[in-house]
């Protein structure tokens, strides 16, 4: 078989757009939406410091409820830097946030990400799972863009591979900044192919999904979604070493649905 000519591939792709329906895109509507987003960014810029300060205060309060014991050595370095905010809200220094002006990203402040990391470490240590990170990062870092809410919003995320004598599997957490998110829409079980339920964990609503192997797949995953304020937490645990190679190295995901729900709810609670 010879390499196809570029024009052949383009023609082939052209067949896929055959039967194009009428478009509802109108410049006037796009401009209205654009103006609204500009206004939203300006309001967010004004309110951002207040929101973030509230989030840090909440995180600090939560941390005081936790015993701040040290975690396993294997997750120590990444998860403990930078240190969490621990002083009372009334004496906390002003929260820092990247200045938000129209056309620039709205971000999760570094203080909030530090708080998420502290809570992650605490909750993971409390699981006593016996699993150790074998690759990836075990700490939230700033991420962009979020496909859910657009590239102007920067959240945080982490991907690590956990392992024990039974094998390895992925543990992924993402915190996406959203504005005007509707919990009813965000946390709604809409797949008939998975086991899904919305439950309350520590006062936080969590949508928990699980999937089981079928005749055609060995993939098993658990997903937990939680929405707190304007931050959506998405946690996933998977028994495959990667979607590409599809090697199931464990009989089940490293974290159970309950464990994932607990961690996800705790992170959500600690996020503004």
């Amino acid at each position: 078989m010879t390499e196809p000519d570029d024009r052949d591939v383009r023609a082939l792709l052209g067949t896929a757009v055959h039967g194009e329906p009428p478009s509802a895109l109108e410049p006037a509507r796009l401009m209205r939406l654009g103006k609204r987003r500009l206004r939203l960014q300006r309001v967010s810029a004004a309110l951002g410091v207040v929101v973030i300060a509230g989030g840090v205060a909440l995180g600090a309060g939560l941390l005081r409820q936790h015993d701040n014991g040290t975690g396993p050595d294997q997750i120590g370095a990444a998860a403990t830097s930078p240190p969490p905010a621990t002083s009372p809200p009334t004496t906390s220094p002003p929260a820092t946030q990247t200045p938000t002006i129209p056309g620039t990203p709205i971000v999760l402040a570094s203080d909030v990400i530090a708080t998420q990391n502290a809570v992650l470490k605490h909750e993971y240590t409390a699981l006593g799972s016996g699993l150790s990170p074998v690759s990836g990062q075990f700490a939230f870092v700033a991420t962009k863009p979020s496909g859910l809410v657009g590239a102007d919003y920067i959240g945080s995320g982490m991907t690590t591979r956990l392992g024990d004598q039974r094998g390895t599997g992925d543990f992924i957490l993402n915190a996406d900044v959203t504005i005007g998110a509707d919990p009813g829409t965000m946390l709604s079980c809409d797949s008939s192919k998975t086991t899904c339920a919305v439950q309350t964990v520590g006062g936080i609503s969590v949508e928990v999904e699980t999937d089981h192997p079928t005749a055609k797949t060995t993939r098993i995953f658990t997903v937990a979604l939680s929405l707190s304020g304007n931050v959506l937490i998405n946690g996933t645990s998977d028994n495959l070493d990667s979607p590409q190679t599809r090697n199931a190295t464990r009989p089940s995901p490293p974290l159970t649905a309950d464990q994932l729900a607990r961690i996800t709810a705790a992170i959500a609670k600690a996020s503004p």
């Binding site: 078989m1 010879t2 390499e3 196809p4 052949d8 591939v9 383009r10 023609a11 082939l12 792709l13 052209g14 067949t15 896929a16 757009v17 055959h18 039967g19 194009e20 329906p21 478009s23 509802a24 895109l25 410049p27 006037a28 796009l30 401009m31 939406l33 654009g34 103006k35 987003r37 500009l38 960014q41 129209p102 056309g103 863009p145 979020s146 496909g147 859910l148 657009g150 590239a151 102007d152 992924i172 797949s191 192919k193 998975t194 999904e209 999937d211 079928t214 055609k216 797949t217 060995t218 993939r219 995953f221 997903v223 979604l225 998405n234 996933t236 495959l240 979607p243 590409q244 599809r246």
Partner: protein, 168 residues
């Protein structure tokens, strides 16, 4: 109507159809394609002065469109996708009209990265360098993804389909 609105309206008017087709090739659904274009154009409106001053409006919109499509795919993949060990059975050739279905089905089965490379290189006519810059990957990755995407298309289209013969 101020200058931003005038310039933006002209751009949106002339480019939205082509952008929607590109978005459709990236996501495989006309409604989602329209949502993707709307997202990209609204973001463009917000950043119009800066992007227009830099003189690369098309590249900016294309980058937003592609990366948003990939991000949405990966998010959906994490939440909903059910992987199969084998590709679905290839239906036998029945009529010329099925060519459209064949190609859409195959595009849907390509990994998001390969699909994006294919669309950017062959539909948008971007060079390897431009494609790499848009996707924020290396040129080597673009080359390997292109080869894999073409190989996958041949394999998935199957010898019984019209589209396969066009690609052979």
């Amino acid at each position: 109507m101020d200058r931003r609105d005038r310039e933006f309206a002209e751009f949106a008017q002339t480019r939205s159809t082509a952008l929607r087709r590109t978005a459709f090739l990236l996501c495989g659904d006309w409604q989602r394609a329209e949502d993707l274009v709307q997202t990209a154009l609204v973001k463009l409106y917000v950043s119009w002065h800066r992007v227009n001053r830099d003189g690369n409006v098309d590249a900016y919109v294309r980058t937003i469109l592609t990366r948003t499509a990939i991000d949405e795919f990966r998010r959906a993949h994490r939440r909903r996708e059910h992987l199969t060990d084998e590709p679905p059975e290839v239906p036998a050739r029945q009529a010329d009209a099925e060519n459209v279905v064949d190609v859409r089905r195959v595009l849907d089965q390509l990994p998001s990265g390969q699909r994006a490379v294919l669309v950017l290189r062959y539909w948008e006519d971007l060079s390897i360098t431009e494609t790499a810059r848009t996707l924020r990957v290396s040129e080597g990755t673009v080359k390997s993804q292109t080869a894999k995407a073409l190989a996958s298309m041949r394999r998935l289209l199957g010898p019984g389909t019209i589209a396969f013969e066009e690609l052979s």
